[in-house]
Subunit: 406 residues, 2 copies
């Protein structure tokens, strides 16, 4: 039984395709989401369907897999069953790959008033809000109010925050200026707040520098060492007492364990992630694997990051360890192979580190485009996304900017 | 001032592009919708963004037009102003092109329990529901309940009902059978109910015959002379007392005037449509034009139908009449030129009547595809829709079947 059809769960299921097992894959959505591009949905750069693929379509040819859509309410490790949609399903091996959710670190008011990028729903909500701000600004006579409508604050200088800020700045300077010829978009501001002294702190220093430079070139107001004190939906208050008038705060500053993981009686680490053995097994429950964002594992004294490459490698590895257990062998220990780092900052600039070499600017962006398109699930989606990006690149146009009702 | 950016309003605005006027275009959505393909969104054949285009993008180059998103709360014909988003906007000429909404003919329970295809929101809601039925059926052990989940009732044998029934039958027989290999989809039924003795009653008889034949070939259970008595969300009761167990009723059986038109103190005809002069003007208010689905006009003793071709021709004509009025000339009378009829019944069959010649089957379908793609707004959308249809045609696959949260 695999719970969660994110990168980790999907990969485990695939790697068990030709093994004589019966797989039940469970997810609360009917689709797999290509989360690294979720911010593109929020800035109206891609459509939800271009980064999501129905799970049944993905596994059409895998005859040993059954998909069930629903939310697991109970997991009983001792008696080896889960409860789903009111029925009880027993398992021999369990792979818990339920991902994470946004960590607001107790800032309830931000959870209520701010926006986040966690799933299609929240990304579309963010998109609709962003587009509505421009509509409202277009018939707002009061200069102060207009400025507040056109100020966009992004909290968190990690890859998601950096990518969102860059893409949003570009949406304004290249697309919105055409859609709103009567609006003075020099009034618009994208502000990126980061509590630490650096952006993308896990990246090497030359890439951090390049990122800051690229963001500044795109007119993003980057504020390092800046901590948030409060936000009431109208006004951000910083720890130093200064204020930013804005209707939009996008929170990208943290991930924590999901509710189902929170309720489990197992040892947890920071952000509520489940402590696992190097074999990816749950201590005391060797038939249970916890992988991806839900799991906490240290390598060389450092916690593995909550990113897709870790999840995918753990998915592959879990399938291998399950095979070992089935054959009566002892499970092996997981080691993460860092494939490099990559972040994009708008339309034609990115930073990357691959095989120990750092790139920035246009070449890094081309690498980013091809790697991401290659990784998007579904050949048709790859073609359409590539077509859309080529079109946007040539015509400085963005994907359809629909305001939909939620 | 033009209220409504459907086919009629859009066309009026475009035809006034090179005239020395200032146009304010108002719509409650930020996008124009290509309504003839809305049913394709409901059956997961097309994406919302493929049949919708932001109004600001459409009019980017038209410098004499300002777009305002919002809902008009008051229209004062005597003092010539409207109220929008709390402000008052005066006009010299008013074009009222606000379209229609679903007419449930007082069946409140169907409005509550049934589904409709009126805008992106209702179409996406229908799609999510349809897809959810298959998910639920896939883990339903009770044969009776499963049958009820897989029974889909469409009410109304007009073009929308016929097209929806055909496309849904095909989604089941060609796509869902692959996504749900363990589900016996011979249990699935598409039932089309029509109160009159014919499907698409406005079409010539040979096309009606061809339509019935094509629908039967696709296993649609067509029931003519069949009137609805009640629906409680679980069970349809027909006038003859017989019942159909179903969780899904899609109502396509009528259109009536929108709320803003309902509130106007002007003479109304059937379905609450505004009676207008042959010049498309409102009696007593020569500076006001009412066009498209909102208007009622008879030609040769027959009311003009509520379809896009009438709306477009009236839009063009209104622009001309406004010019005449501006020059001090008297307005001309509108005459509808019937460009032919066209309806599609699934993947490779349609019926058409063009230049007095009736077609059916594959040739009609090819005509339908090209005409619709040609009419879709936005060159990019045309390419992508064409690509998607070619793909579906070759691979018997449908567009991404996402269940999204509303």
């Amino acid at each position: 039984m695999i719970i969660g059809a994110g990168f980790a769960g999907l990969e485990t299921a695939r790697r068990l395709a030709s093994v004589p097992v019966r797989i039940t894959l469970i997810d609360k959505n009917n689709h797999h989401l290509f989360q690294p591009l979720l911010y593109q949905v929020a800035i109206a750069g891609l459509l939800p369907s271009q980064i999501a693929q129905p799970i049944r379509t993905i596994f059409r040819k895998q005859k040993n897999l059954t998909f069930q859509m629903g939310e697991v309410s109970t997991i009983n490790f001792d008696e080896k069953y889960v409860k789903l949609n009111g029925s009880v399903i027993a398992y021999d091996y369990l792979v818990l790959a339920v991902g994470g959710r946004t960590n607001f670190f107790g800032f309830d008011v931000i959870e209520k008033e701010g926006f986040q990028l966690k799933d299609l729903e929240t990304a579309v909500k963010t998109r609709n809000h962003l587009l509505r701000m421009f509509e409202q600004a277009s018939h707002e006579g009061d200069a102060e109010k207009r400025k507040s409508l056109l100020t966009f604050v992004i909290v968190g200088g990690g890859p998601t925050g950096v990518e969102t800020a860059g893409a949003l700045a570009e949406l304004i300077s290249h697309v919105m200026v055409k859609d709103y010829p009567r609006l003075n978009l020099n009034e618009a501001r994208v502000v990126l707040l980061e509590a630490a002294a650096h952006l993308i702190s896990s990246y090497p220093d030359e890439l951090r520098q390049a990122t800051s430079k690229l963001l500044k070139k795109k007119n993003v107001d980057v504020r390092l060492n800046t901590k948030l004190e409060n936000y009431n939906g109208q006004e951000v208050t910083l720890l130093d007492g200064s204020k930013i008038e804005t209707q939009t705060l996008i929170w990208t500053a943290g991930v924590k364990a999901t509710e189902i993981v929170e309720g489990l009686n197992v040892e947890k680490a920071s952000a509520g992630r489940v402590r696992i053995l190097p074999t990816l097994q749950l201590p005391q429950h060797p038939e249970t694997f916890v992988i991806g964002d839900a799991a906490f594992l240290e390598e060389n004294g450092q916690a593995l990051p909550m990113i897709s490459t870790v999840a995918i490698q753990q998915g592959v590895f879990t399938a291998k360890n399950i095979l070992r257990l089935m054959k009566g062998q002892s499970p092996a220990s997981f080691h993460y192979k860092d494939p490099g780092l990559l972040a994009t900052i708008g339309r034609n600039a990115a930073v990357a580190r691959i095989f120990g070499i750092s790139f920035s600017g246009f070449i890094a962006w081309v690498i980013w485009v091809f790697l991401h398109i290659y990784r998007i699930i579904g050949f048709r989606n790859r073609i359409i996304v590539l077509f859309n990006w080529a079109w946007d690149y040539v015509f400085y146009d963005n994907q359809v900017r629909l305001i939909t009702k939620e």
